[in-house]
């Protein structure tokens, strides 16, 4: 049996398990310190550095680290997780790995990550978006300021990507948000999701942030910040820098992004470009995706996610 990923606002059981699991992963200390991470970085990616407190890091912190590391590896186009074709498969791998760890700490092999259908909230007024149900104490807490309410208040930021390839190991603090800020006043809307569904092919030369193909539209560079990018920018605060997985909203956003990609593939076929020997290294269908937690996979390995999960509803633009 595989997991079913559901809308967090329609399924209180999935929501409660998600919040419980995130807190458990954030409180699980596997014995890795910031000093260990420093040695790991020096051994593998010495241009990425860490400074600050030599403290114990949680399993959740290591997911934050993974995102910063992947982002810090520059490729001929974009980096090892963004701004190129690898964006969608890399984040699919990342979410699968987190989902597996949530299943472990929850003791539930069928647990599926919930998604936040942010385009549904994007249909609301700007005022209503900031005060929408997702930001309630029962869900993921306030959209503006320090998150002092709900389960997310029990989570702590320990690693913070304060500049380019520099990570700070900071005194544990709560997550911060600044929803509807000057860089993005409102969320994406359903019409934007429809535009991503209509965009073909998956990607195209020059494989960068300047085309109108599906990946680039969904990542949010076309007329950006749009779609995925806009959700990061709209939430702001800890969702801004490369350590954005500190905020559980990151995973709700990316689960919805993955759902839109899955809906696109249901219509267009499991078509990935660039193929073998085509396009920039690190973005090809057979490129090994950067993983610091568990085994690496290639885009071709994750194009069909049915061995791991499915979605309850793929009517993403409705």
């Amino acid at each position: 049996m595989t997991a079913i990923r559901r809308n967090i606002l329609n399924n209180t059981a999935a929501r409660d398990q998600f919040l419980q699991g995130m807190v458990l992963l954030d409180q699980e200390m596997p014995g890795i310190t910031a000093g260990d991470v420093q040695a790991f970085l020096q051994n593998n990616v010495p241009h990425i550095t860490i400074q600050g407190l030599n403290q114990q890091l949680s399993t959740y912190d290591l997911f934050v680290l993974w995102h910063v590391v992947a982002m810090g590896i520059s490729l001929p186009v974009g980096n090892a997780a963004h701004s190129g074709p690898i964006f969608l498969p890399w984040h699919r791998l990342y979410l699968i790995r987190l989902e597996e760890e949530l299943q472990r700490v929850l003791g539930d092999d069928d647990f599926g990550l919930p998604y936040w259908d942010w385009a549904a909230d994007g249909q609301l007024s700007t005022f209503q978006q900031v005060n929408a149900d997702i930001w309630s104490t029962q869900n993921i807490g306030t959209s503006r300021g320090v998150v002092n309410d709900g389960a997310v208040a029990d989570m702590r930021v320990r690693l913070f990507n304060f500049a380019g390839n520099r990570i700070a190991s900071v005194e544990p603090r709560r997550i911060q948000r600044q929803a509807s800020n000057q860089s993005a006043r409102r969320l994406p809307r359903k019409v934007d999701v429809q535009a991503a569904l209509d965009a073909i092919p998956y990607d195209e030369a020059n494989w960068d942030i300047n085309n109108n193909a599906h990946r680039n539209v969904l990542e949010g560079w076309h007329n950006g910040p749009a779609l995925h990018n806009r959700v990061h920018v709209w939430i702001g605060g800890d969702m801004g820098p490369g350590s954005s997985p500190n905020d559980p909203a990151f995973f709700l956003n990316h689960c919805n992004v993955d759902r839109i990609w899955e809906a696109w593939m249901m219509n267009q076929g499991r078509d990935y470009r660039p193929q073998v020997g085509e396009g920039p290294q690190g973005h090809r269908i057979d490129s090994a995706m950067v993983s610091i937690l568990g085994q690496s996979l290639r885009p071709i390995d994750v194009l069909d996610p049915s061995q791991w999960y499915s979605y309850d509803d793929l009517n993403v633009a409705a």
Binding site: H47, A163, N210, Q281
Partner: protein
């Protein structure tokens, strides 16, 4: 066994193991100085290239920012990976906002090579940026 959760060995091996990760290569690792961004497009069969060179300063100190100009004229940078700014000044203001926090005492100093990359001010750090191993 140093690590307290044996059942996590499969997950943590890339970090706790001594072997190196198999990482992709091919990108530029910028080593200071002006940043050059090149835009390319094709129009009526003609190949267009627009080269833009940036130098960033904060309080008179040259600051490394991996900036890139998009074809629509917006500016993107590595520091804020999802943003597309309408101006480079607006981008620098947002970068300063992210840096505006109190860096704790650096207990990890002396751990070897420190960054020569992304020199973005000291963000409240004690002693600022360390070049001791260059």
């Amino acid at each position: 066994m140093k690590y307290q959760t044996d059942h996590l060995d499969h997950l943590l091996k890339p970090i706790t193991g001594e072997g190196k990760l198999d990482l992709p290569t091919g990108g530029d690792h910028h080593h200071g100085g002006p940043v050059k961004s090149i835009r390319k497009a094709t129009y009526k069969g003609k190949e267009i290239e627009v080269h833009t060179t940036y130098e960033f300063f904060i309080d008179g100190e040259q600051t490394e920012v991996h900036a890139e100009v998009m074809n629509d004229g917006k500016v993107h940078c590595h520091n804020l990976p999802q943003y597309a700014f309408t101006s480079a000044i607006r981008m620098m203001k947002s970068i300063i906002d992210v840096m505006d926090f109190k860096m704790p005492h650096n207990e990890l100093a002396g751990g070897g090579h420190t960054s020569h990359d992304n020199h973005l001010g000291n963000a409240g750090m004690h002693g600022g940026h360390d070049h001791d191993s260059h």
